[in-house]
């Protein structure tokens, strides 16, 4: 049994479960739409104001929406005992954790990335800015999902751990937020964004290689 087929088996199962629970899929998206819709109402619908705010608001709301969905990432698996089965089994636990995180990103991160350009248009973000927003979110949100998975694995055995999870992983997520929002802002002003993009890419590669090991160790601690 190769690692690749285990990886796909886990992703397929996660997607099967996700589509049985459409409500859980929709709630981070609703959160994203609501938060971004409230800013123009509370602040000002002026074009200049919204254009200036857009990168920060769209990025912060995406981060919070993702964080909101991270909470349940491993909780149900620990509660229904399926995590025990996976941990006891002979397969590489980091690979399984990576597969679960990828599946989670596919159902909660990717929809945010797809929704972002629509919301960006309502903020009068110029075309270059929209493109940069999509690009930075596309690289940034998987990194956020990966980082969040460490916290989710550590707090999987604790009930009502939402605030704890946020406290644990927020410091790790800040660089991604800063470079993502800054990159979008630069692009909106017509400047080149290769710097932030390279850094976001580096964060993603770093977390892709190291985070599965950390979250596998964390879930073992949670189950002990």
């Amino acid at each position: 049994m190769t690692g690749g087929s285990i990886f796909w088996a886990v992703i397929q199962r996660e997607l099967q479960i996700a589509f049985q629970r459409l409500g859980d899929l929709v709630s981070p998206l609703m959160f994203y739409v609501l938060v971004t819709a409230l800013f123009p109402l509370a602040l000002s619908p002026k074009r200049e104001v919204l254009q200036n705010l857009a990168p920060a608001v769209l990025w912060i709301a995406a981060l919070l929406a993702l964080l909101l969905s991270m909470n349940a990432l491993f909780r149900t698996d620990v509660e229904d005992g399926s995590m025990e089965q996976l941990v006891i089994g002979p397969h590489s636990l980091p690979l399984i954790m990576l597969a679960k995180t990828v599946a989670h990103w596919l159902v909660s991160g990717l929809p945010l990335v797809l929704l972002a350009p629509l919301l960006a248009v309502t903020y009068y973000l110029p075309a270059e800015g929209v493109r940069a927003l999509c690009l930075t979110l596309l690289i940034g949100t998987p990194t956020l999902s990966l980082l969040g998975s460490i916290g989710a694995a550590l707090t999987a055995g604790i009930r009502q751990s939402g605030a704890l999870l946020a406290l644990l992983v927020m410091p790790l997520m800040l660089p991604v937020l800063m470079y993502g929002a800054r990159g979008t802002d630069l692009a909106a002003q017509g400047e080149t964004i290769s710097g932030p993009l390279y850094l976001l890419g580096a964060f993603m590669v770093l977390s892709l290689t190291l985070v599965p090991l950390a979250s596998a160790a964390a879930i073992r601690v949670s189950l002990d």
Partner: protein, 205 residues
Amino acid sequence: MLTANKLTLWRGSLCLFENLTFQVNDGSVLLVQGPNGSGKTTLLRVLCGLSRPESGSVQWNNESIESSRSIFGAQIAYFGHITGLKVDLTVNQNLAFAARMLGQHNQRWENYLEPLSLSHCANLPVRYLSAGQQRRTALARVLMSDAKLWMMDEPFTNLDQAGREFIEGELTRHLNGDGLAVVVAHHGLDLPQERLTTVHLGGLH
């Protein structure tokens, strides 16, 4: 052969077991007994490698389970007191996933649906099944694996008389094929004495 070597485990200020040493040979069962809260499930989790003891070691065929995790993992079928099933998926989907994780490409689990009285609900999400039927589904996962070591935590909970007899029959068959089992149970097992090693926990307070 499963060997426990001077296992000691504390939970807070409570010593669950101290210097616990035993050996389970091929073809025999370790029966773990003791009152509630005496650490039976914890001992099972230590033997699976899910929890770590304070001191002592668990060995599978004279190799520490920590160092040979993937070899040991391939030999265990764990039947815990929570089922490990996804309640949103059907019986078939759950077992198909288990088969993929075991590297089985045939639909071998279907052979067990009938004897476990699950064939009429194989396409129902597990959440609609009764507790007993959920246990039976988890049991199918144990039976379809070729695992040499069965770890069973209160296997008879929620099962009717027919279910109990079925498990005991399968357990005997497993042992006859040189399999091993660790069973946590309140009641004794209907097995010949020479196959049975019993550990009583809860005498250390």
